[in-house]
């Protein structure tokens, strides 16, 4: 089918057309299959998304994380990834920036709440 051809074409693209012998990305065990299915449903797709689409999305997410990590390693403190670097890289994208700020604030609040709770327990 035309779709199958397109699918292998896409994977070859990822490997820079290395003739299909070393299908690096495609052969790695699927890390996020289950979570990505739920996520795609949540974002508007069908309740059972196609496996090929989930695969493509997983490859994209892994590539995104890889790119961000490489960029973060090259700015700020070299060779390390720190939160400030990620926030700096994301500054132009309003959605992601707001999301990161929210997540970090909520995490701080939760830590504080847990600490207060533990101290209360320790007291009584």
């Amino acid at each position: 089918m035309a779709e199958d051809e397109d699918e292998t074409g896409f994977e070859e693209e990822l490997d820079d057309g290395s003739g299909g012998v070393d299908v690096g990305h495609g052969r790695r065990k699927r890390l996020f299959s289950k979570e990505l299915r739920c996520m795609m449903y949540g974002f508007g797709d069908d309740q059972n998304p196609y496996t090929e689409s989930v695969d493509i999305l997983e490859d994209l997410v892994i590539e995104f994380i890889t790119e961000m990590t490489h960029k973060a390693m090259s700015i700020g403190r070299q060779g390390r990834v720190q939160v400030e670097d990620i926030v700096f890289l994301i500054r132009k994208d309003p959605r992601k920036f707001a999301r990161v700020k929210d997540l970090l604030t909520m995490n701080e609040e939760l830590k504080r709440a847990r600490k207060a709770f533990d101290e209360a327990n320790y007291g009584s």
């Binding site: 449903y41 974002f43 797709d45 090929e52 999301r99």
Partner: protein
């Protein structure tokens, strides 16, 4: 001399005593660091935005004057401002929370399911941590993992939403097909929303 500035300083002291929220807010955005506005502006009503924009050019010079001439009132004002700002943000949050509650209470069952999946789905922290550590070669803090999984989810959402747009535009039906995903990626790439460090743009060739 400096009469126009003087007049404006009187203006500002009048405004602070009247304590209207809009004016306070416009001054706040001048005094507070730049990271606060982007998060807030998403929640602001459009009318407040307009007021903010009108007041900004005026208050820009006034803030400096105020700090120079009457240090005491300025510091007092600075103490009061964060409280009022927190109150205001609290109020805006409450409004938003109420609206969300009204909305969610009117969801059909299928919509509720989808909303639950949307809120609950997340990338496993362990896998993300392993992935980042395999790239950096050194350990990363927990906050990094939290931030990275958060942005990855937003990223996945952007692609799926764009793919759904493409799907609708091409007259197809939901289960998204790889061709929709690929067209979505192509569109996002042209908008620079997909990071790519593989090819450098040579400006003058």
């Amino acid at each position: 001399m400096a009469d126009p500035a003087r007049i404006k300083v009187d203006d500002i002291s009048e405004r602070t005593t009247s304590a209207t929220e809009e004016h306070q807010k416009s001054e706040d955005t001048e005094g507070v660091s730049a990271t606060a506005p982007p998060a807030q502006e998403n929640k602001d009503a459009s009318s407040q935005d307009q007021l903010k924009q009108e007041d900004k050019p005026e208050t820009a010079t006034q803030e400096d004057e105020e700090e120079g001439t009457s240090g005491q009132s300025a510091s007092k004002r600075l103490k009061v401002e964060p409280e009022k700002k927190k109150e205001k943000r609290h109020k805006v949050d409450e409004d938003e929370i109420q609206k969300m509650q009204v909305l969610v209470s009117s969801f059909s069952e299928e919509q509720l399911n989808r909303y639950e999946m949307y809120r609950r789905s997340a990338f496993p922290k362990a896998a993300i941590k392993r992935l980042i550590q395999s790239i950096t070669g050194s350990s990363v803090s927990q906050n990094v993992v939290i931030a990275m999984s958060g942005i990855s989810k937003v990223f996945a959402g952007e692609i799926v939403e764009e793919a759904l747009d493409v799907c609708e535009k091409w007259g197809d039906t939901p289960p998204l097909q790889p061709k929709h995903m690929r067209e979505a990626v192509r569109r996002l790439k042209s908008r620079d929303q997909i990071p790519n460090t593989k090819y450098k743009n040579i400006l003058f060739h």
